[in-house]
């Protein structure tokens, strides 16, 4: 079990891209068993940043093995996240296409697992982002001007097979806008009475801290959770990944 938990940790970003256009930060707190959260951020080429977050259902070795498999599928060298361009090179695969592939590869009957995912490709030169969100807790955009908006789902949880189509959506990030991805380990964190930290408290905290830097926002979230639960350890993995568009 410990080996499997160690493997899960090695799947987390060892080093985030250092970009002049985009700032990135993450926080991960594992539960006491092996969870199913993974996330990553990497440059596909000089202007396209990929960020994703996955939450495989369940805990334990079977969930851990699926996370390893999904991580390999989404690796930049896998050939699954790029498509050929007309000049003999490659360009980012559309998020919808990536999710279609995952849906075909991971029907629930194959591993007895479902998973949620947010997968986004951002042009760091323009701030334009194309994303697909499949059954995942709503990513939150924190605009510099103070507004906050959760991004709705564009597709079903992975595992349904071909029952429902996947779509993708666009988002134009302005300078100073932040995007926060997280797993349900944040909003479904429970105190001793079994009450959830919840969307409302989380979104209020994000609004209150929207002018803080990413690192401060992620730490403030974890601190607020621990205050709420009086330090009760999380029953699920807690994952947060933030990015801020800071331009060149």
């Amino acid at each position: 079990l410990r080996a499997a938990a160690d493997i899960q940790r090695t799947l987390l970003p060892q080093k985030l891209p250092e970009l002049k256009e985009v700032e990135l930060a993450w926080k991960f707190v594992p539960n006491q068993h092996i969870g199913g959260d993974i996330f990553n951020a990497f440059m596909l080429d000089e202007r396209h940043l990929v960020v994703y977050m996955v939450d495989v259902s369940g805990h334990g070795v079977p969930s851990g093995l699926v996370t390893v498999s999904v991580h390999e599928m989404l690796a930049p060298q896998s050939g699954h996240v790029t498509i050929p361009d007309n000049n003999g090179g490659v360009i980012p695969a559309p998020p919808k296409q990536v999710l279609d592939l995952l849906s075909a590869e991971y029907p629930v009957e194959r591993f007895n697992k479902t998973f949620s995912i947010v997968y986004a490709v951002m042009d760091v030169k323009t701030g334009k982002m194309i994303y697909a969100s499949a059954g995942h807790p709503h990513p939150v955009i924190l605009q510099k001007k103070g507004a906050m908006a959760p991004l709705g789902p564009t597709g079903p949880i992975i595992g349904l097979g071909a029952l429902l189509p996947f779509e993708q959506a666009e988002l134009n990030m302005e300078l100073g806008d932040k995007l926060i991805l997280y797993t349900d380990g944040v909003v479904e964190y429970e105190n001793e009475a079994g009450e959830f930290y919840g969307d409302e408290r989380y979104f209020a905290l994000l609004m209150k801290n929207h002018q803080s830097n990413l690192h401060q926002i992620l730490e403030a979230t974890w601190q607020a959770m621990m205050d709420y639960g009086a330090g009760v350890p999380p029953r699920d993995d807690v994952s947060m990944l933030g990015l801020e568009y800071i331009g060149s």
């Binding site: 199913g36 939450d55 495989v56 259902s57 369940g58 805990h59 029907p107 629930v108 009957e109 007895n112 697992k113 479902t114 998973f115 949620s116 059954g135 995942h136 807790p137 709503h138 789902p153 597709g155 079903p156 949880i157 595992g159 349904l160 097979g161 029952l163 429902l164 349900d184 479904e188 699920d236």
Partner: protein, 114 residues
């Protein structure tokens, strides 16, 4: 886990007496639900009105049962009685677009009869 079984107009209605369907409860849920689903061609209302929490493992159970009934067994299945937290989860995961949801078991059974 106790499962209530009844019939409405020839449609099987199964109601798990379970408040929380999570990673801990999922194995027993699957074992028990598979026992009551019955043979191929089943038309089934899964009455979930006793449940007020479901995590991703629970959701996986529902997807598995739905695919077993509708694809492997060639039957039909709807759910009924989703409490607010479950209704939100079904919306978030778009499961509500794949599996028809009704307020009551009677409405679900009527939909399967028609």
């Amino acid at each position: 886990m106790e499962i209530q079984e009844r019939e409405i107009g020839g449609i099987k209605v199964v109601k798990p007496e379970l408040v929380r369907l999570d990673a801990h409860a999922s194995p027993e849920f699957m074992e028990d639900i598979n026992r009551v689903i019955g043979a191929g061609g089943a038309r089934l209302v899964l009455d979930m009105s006793a449940m007020n929490f479901m995590d991703s493992s629970g959701l996986t159970c529902i997807v598995t049962v739905y695919k077993e009934v509708t694809q492997a067994m060639g039957g039909a299945m709807v759910v009924s009685g989703l409490q607010k937290p479950l209704a939100s989860l079904f919306r978030l995961t778009k499961l509500d677009q794949a599996i028809k949801c009704y307020a009551t078991a009677e409405e679900g059974a009527a939909a399967l009869t028609g």
